[in-house]
């Protein structure tokens, strides 16, 4: 292929210098370079491929709405609790501005999008965390939205499905963030007591307080390939135990090998896998 390029160049008697006008004609972000294998491809092809690198299978981070578009049947998603908004309970300087700017950037009111929708025709309540919003960290609004989503699933007697992506509890809301771990847990306990299904899908990255609460206790725990999943950060652990950790430490595959996950599922087959699981849990058979 490289030889081809050179030979083609030789045949050309002149070169084309792109004008300034044509430069601006090309929309920004038309090409995307894979952070893992450096493969460069058309962004539109990447999106068609569910944001998985065609060369190395790297699973790119997704926004909550991108996730909806590949996971929920078209035009069936109805969002919930978009009216909740974050306050600044500890009066942390700059916190309100950060929330505002992330909100504008992502089009979300907080770091999780919740709602109802169909997965291959079966109704579910879904919560999708978005790591582009304050690292997906959990404060009062994230905790409240997830809790309300679980309650809705319990009430409607449908499965609750969550895609996690979070750095953990949100520092700026202090202990209130910590308590969201307990809050979501009491709701999930009730959901479980009523015999309802909860599937947790861990995506990159799921750590800290989110890993140590709802993310890890699905009836079924799935994860995307190579997702970073863990309680403490790698640096903290290395400083504590004073040894270098293996390369694959805290990856989805590492957790699978240590018995913490039911399966690692490629993004291209996630919808089918979940829809089959939902079907197998349908009340009264199907």
């Amino acid at each position: 292929m490289i030889r081809e390029i050179f030979s083609r160049n030789r045949k050309n008697k002149y070169a084309t210098i792109p004008s300034n006008a044509s430069k601006t004609d090309v929309p920004e972000g038309i090409m995307t370079k894979c952070p893992e294998c450096k493969h460069i491809g058309l962004t539109k092809d990447l999106i068609k491929n569910k944001k998985v690198c065609p060369a190395c299978d790297h699973h790119y981070k997704m926004t909550a709405y991108e996730r909806v578009s590949i996971f929920i049947d078209e035009d069936t998603f109805v969002s919930m609790d978009d009216h909740l908004s974050t306050v600044n309970p500890l009066n942390f300087p700059g916190y309100t501005d950060k929330i505002k700017s992330d909100s504008e950037k992502t089009g979300l009111n907080e770091a999780v999008l919740t709602g109802t929708g169909l997965v291959n025709g079966r109704k579910v309540v879904v919560a999708i965390m978005d790591a582009h919003f304050r690292m997906g960290s959990m404060g009062s609004v994230v905790g409240e939205k997830i809790t309300r989503a679980v309650e809705e699933a319990t009430k409607q007697e449908v499965p609750f499905i969550i895609f996690t992506a979070s750095g953990g509890a949100r520092m700026q809301e202090g202990v209130l963030s910590l308590m969201q771990m307990a809050k979501t847990s009491v709701a999930l306990n009730r959901h479980s007591e009523r015999g309802q299904l909860f599937i947790s899908i861990l995506t990159h990255p799921t750590t800290g307080g989110v890993s140590a609460s709802f993310a890890s206790i699905g009836d079924i725990n799935l994860a995307e390939p190579k997702a970073l999943i863990g309680f403490a950060g790698r640096r903290v652990i290395e400083q504590t135990v004073r040894e270098k950790l293996p390369e694959n430490f805290q990856t989805a595959e590492f957790l699978l090998a240590h018995g913490q996950l039911d399966a690692v599922v490629h993004r291209s087959s996630m919808k089918e896998t979940v829809s089959t699981l939902v079907k197998l849990h349908a009340k009264g058979g199907n």
């Binding site: 009062s140 520092m171 308590m179 771990m181 809050k183 847990s185 309680f231 040894e243 430490f249 913490q260």
Partner: protein
Amino acid sequence: MVKTLPFEEPVIQLRDKITELKDFTSNADVDLSTEIQQLEDRLQKLETDIYDNMQPWDRVQVARHPERPTTLDYIREIFTDFIELHGDRSYGDDEAIVGGIAAFNGCPITVIGHQRGKDTKENIRRNFGMPHPEGYRKALRLMKQAEKFNRPIICFIDTKGAYPGKAAEERGQSEAIARNLVEMAGLKVPVISVVIGEGGSGGALALGVANHVHMLENSTYSVISPEGAASILWKDSSLAQQAAEAMKITAPDLKQMGIVDEIIQEAVGGAHRDTKQQAIYMKEALQRSIDTLSKLSKEELVNNRYEKFKSIGEFAE
């Protein structure tokens, strides 16, 4: 000799002076009783000034005091017939958490708590009170056992956090904590948790999904240590003192946020100055909680816990 903390230095110095004067007058032929009386009045005023106006960072120091009473101290002072039960039945016994059965005012209860060491040797054995997954799984096993035999559960929280180590990750630290949160939510017996020292993050909360959550006056409960918060927020762990204030981690802060039900008063100068007196305050608070909660049915207990945690959080709608 109890270790003195920086903020109480003036009190200690004055107290030493008074003792010195008293010694002197008992041997010499002078009457200094008026002077001593004056000094003692001043001491009392100083004590009130200092101990009634403790800053968050002062409380952090008291909460971490090496001689502060631990779970086993309270168990010894408050309960009778304590029998320690070990192990999680699948991996090992984590001595950073202790638990067992005992009698409280004659009634059987299950008691579980984080356990720090009092000296270096014990701290190594108990991993400085920072549990591994098997510690949380032992705790859960004992809670389920308590539920089966219908006895109340009392948890003492006292940890910097769950241990951030390699083995802990391999054995599922996240799952162990998460499992406790969800299972505690559904326990059909009264659950009372008391933060007695440091309540550090998820590792503390894993014993904290209770019907009543109390805090000792000088204990702390937080999402991250002041040092950790300072290093993440301002990239400088030496700003811990400011972080302790900003993060709102003291008992009065948590009471105000509606997270804590009752603040248990401490002996003057902190629990470590009078373990026996502290145990009396603790016992009274526990009895009040048990009296209240034993009136609730199994279903009401679960609902009560649900409503309590469901209501925590601040947002606009």
